[in-house]
């Protein structure tokens, strides 16, 4: 319905002054409140060329404390960026809690620019809308405020502005052939924008169309919209906190009243539920093993083959993600070492995952992993991964039940996005039994050069073996996909395990390279 909007709306200088004098201090105050409450904010500007996106951003940031915001100009992906999955550069630019990031162009660029140029068909566009939906949903579910503006001017107005820019020496360079092409094909682009706005207009991340002929009108409307959205967000967070407090109070009261009786019943129910959980670990045959001779022979062959494939993969620009999870002392390190020790160190990175630091905690939990996703032709090997969300964070209560339950489909979406960008994704679960773990722990304690590998935390985790088993089983069942399968590695025999990992990687690379 863009074509039906009244683009002649204006504001007099006086009206403009009145509005901004009222709203600007309010915006500054809201920025402070959002910082206190830890609300992250993304404000994106899309719209016609020469519709004034830059000017609007400059107006909007005037009342803001410069230490709290950052402006990003999104152009065609640069070489570095185009070697990563499309959403990578946006995910890595999401603001930390309490900060504001403004975007001149955004993830919608793909549809408006690339999509139009390459004539993306309807089904491809729908798939792109769905990816955007997942991306925005995942952020807003985590508390992000997303404000989306589309700056709208008429074909004639755009024509006039482009002419004017071209005329003046200092701005002529800003007008490209592309701009004129789009002005000529205005109706086609209008139509595409209309569809995009409808399909990506969601309650949690709605579009606001700005009638941008008159700069005062446009600027004031944007200011007003941002103030309204931030006020809503603040109200919601304050409401949610009050609710949480209240819930805790009620829970405490209820617990005090019927603590024992309830605990008994819950325990009984828990016990029944345990009988029925879906699992794959119980059926794993841990007796599989290899002799040292077999191991040595196979290892050598596989490592040589992997070196060849790794170069080929580099030349053909295939990105690879290897994710390692498993029981403590399950042999992750050993397996990773056997992968890397023979290949070119410029072509891979091993990413160890510790507890998140403060900066990482201030972002979405997937943010730090997105930052490490490999470029085309590179291999990223994760020693522990984003699956921490549904294992340690679940079990230790570092996130809420809603959060880890939501994580399965969030992770599946992320991996689907990687795969659709051509990435090979393999996930290894290094599986040993409880006795084997004990043997290895003790061995580590008794061997001086291995003592650093064993900590009190390992013993504490071991005490929660059964809880972990529940979580791991659910994880394996709910996140093993065609495009990013889990490989359960029978790892009581280190030889067997290492060979299986190498074989899996070699086979996956061979299969892909044969088809490319």
């Amino acid at each position: 319905m863009l074509e039906n909007l009244d683009l002649n709306r204006t504001l007099s200088k006086k009206e403009y002054k009145e509005v901004t004098e009222k709203l600007s201090p309010r915006l500054a105050e809201l920025q402070r409140t959002c910082k206190e409450l830890g609300i992250p904010i993304m404000i994106i500007f899309e719209g016609w060329g020469a519709s004034g996106k830059g000017t609007m951003i400059n107006q909007l940031i005037r009342p803001l404390d410069p230490r709290g915001f950052q402006v990003f100009t999104i152009q065609k992906p640069n070489e570095e960026e185009s070697m990563r999955p499309f959403l990578w550069r946006f995910f890595t630019k999401t603001p930390a809690k309490g900060r504001i990031h403004l975007f001149d162009r955004s993830w919608y660029q793909r549809i408006l620019d690339e999509g139009m140029r390459q004539g993306m068909d309807k089904e491809k566009r729908m798939a792109a809308y769905e990816e955007i939906h997942s991306f925005e949903e995942l952020l807003t579910a985590d508390g992000m405020v997303i404000i989306k503006f589309f700056l709208h001017i008429s074909k004639e107005e755009q024509h006039k502005r482009l002419k004017k820019l071209e005329k003046a020496k200092e701005t002529a360079w800003r007008v490209t052939a592309q701009d004129w092409h789009r002005n000529k094909e205005y109706d086609k682009y209008l139509h595409a924008s209309d569809e995009m706005i409808i399909y990506t207009d969601r309650e949690e991340a709605p579009w606001t169309v700005i009638e941008a002929t008159d700069r005062e009108y446009a600027s004031a409307k944007i200011l007003n919209c941002v103030v309204n959205r931030l006020e809503q967000a603040v109200k919601k967070v304050q409401g949610d906190r009050a609710y949480e407090e209240e819930k805790k109070r009620l829970a405490k009261e209820a617990a005090a009243r019927t603590a024992e009786e309830k605990a008994d019943r819950d325990q009984e129910r828990q016990k029944i539920s345990e009988q029925f959980r879906t699992g794959v670990l119980a059926g794993v045959d841990l007796s599989k093993s290899l002799t040292k001779e077999e191991y040595k022979k196979k290892l050598k062959k596989l490592q040589e083959r992997l070196r060849e494939l790794h170069s080929e993969m580099y030349l053909k620009r295939v990105p690879v993600v290897l994710a390692f999870e498993g029981w403590d002392a399950g042999g992750k390190g050993g397996a990773i070492k056997r992968i890397t020790e023979n290949i070119d160190p410029r072509g891979y990175e091993v990413v160890p995952t510790a507890s998140p630091n403060d900066i990482e905690k201030a972002h979405h939990y997937l943010w730090r992993f997105w930052n490490k996703m490999p470029k085309a032709g590179h291999m990223a090997i994760f020693d522990r991964t984003w699956y921490g969300r549904v294992m340690v964070e679940r079990i230790e209560g570092f996130c809420t039940t809603e959060e880890w339950q939501r994580a399965y489909s969030e992770i599946n979406s992320m991996e689907a996005h990687l795969a659709s960008a051509g990435t090979i994704v393999l996930k290894f679960w290094m599986h040993i039994d409880k006795d084997e773990q004990e043997r290895r722990f003790k061995e580590r304690q008794e061997t001086p050069e291995k003592q650093w590998k064993i900590t009190d935390e390992d013993w504490r985790n071991r005490a929660k073996w059964d809880e972990y088993e529940v979580a791991v089983d659910e994880m394996l069942v709910r996140t093993s996909t065609d495009y990013a399968p889990w490989i359960i590695v029978e790892a009581n025999s280190k030889y067997y395990a290492r060979v299986k990992v190498l074989e899996t990687v070699v086979n996956a690379l061979e299969k892909r390279l044969k088809n490319s």
Copy 2:
């Protein structure tokens, strides 16, 4: 990961008895609680042929009060059903608040059966998953509990069961060539099921895979899962209610403290925001008119053409939805009459929309409209529509702010689904100005045979003209799509308006029939 599950899990008779004796009375109690709290529940059973879906449903309903549930067996769409959009038969079967509907097969049939038979490609499947996601999301957002089971047996087990069924006279008819085909192609179907489960496993409507080799085990696991999910739902609703109470209390306290100051500020902010709302109504040229002679001539021609097109549309099985909204006395009735008076009454239905009755109120607000969606070849003309959600319900506070804000994308999804099923969807906004409305109201009051048309409510609505204008503007902007456009009809002149409506319908039908 279906292939990795341990399908040999069993429960002894004694264990089974213990579990069911504990959980059955609990399920009965939960059914009563859900009824009291008005929680609607859908439980669906998918899975292999001969995996025991029927038996499982029979076991599950045993403890239930038969007045509160209903079982639906979903087969290939019958003739009636295949003439409607795919989701129609499921939408019309959603339970009212407090009731339980169980489904032997479901909306997933399309992917598992039709999709496999017709070799749906990946992008088509993704689109189907997205439709399912919208459907389930819309229901769960409205409070529906959706429990999804997939009954899983091995190829060998299925083979054994089919043989056994075939051997006994009284069950032999149940085994079809299709069943044997699927057993033969087991791996292909396994793979399809795996993908489907991953892509449609969402926090709000998760899948539970049931290892169904042992009937006792399967039946008890289902019972346990249903009890758990209902307990969670009850806890959530009770929690939400406590929260609402608490919010009201806090709001009341806060209001009492700073009522006047806050009201002043809110009013001021409201005034500023009004300047910036995006609208299309203000720009409509209401001076357009037609003379009586022009009108008569055009009307005759258009009605004749429409009659022809209506027959053709019937023969070519094109379904048509015409939705009429507009100001009171805007001329909806007159326009509808001019459409229908010359066409075959067996081929259309006029659906007047009053306030929802009790049964309608107990369902999702779109339910009553889904029930009236036309069959292929038929035309449904709605006199007022589902847009009541974002007009009268919004303004009178009949639904919450979250609910009407969510409605835009829900409505867009529904109309996209209709359109993708081949339906022509046209939406007319009959637009007059305030003076014209007053003239018409007075005329009605003064003309005895028109007095029934005017009520006190009409005058009350008129007093809220400005509020309606805000809502209508937002509605027109956010829900006008290519596949279901809004047509703003300049209706100060009744002649002009009727001709524009007829012309629009005729043009849309001609365009479609030319292309079909």
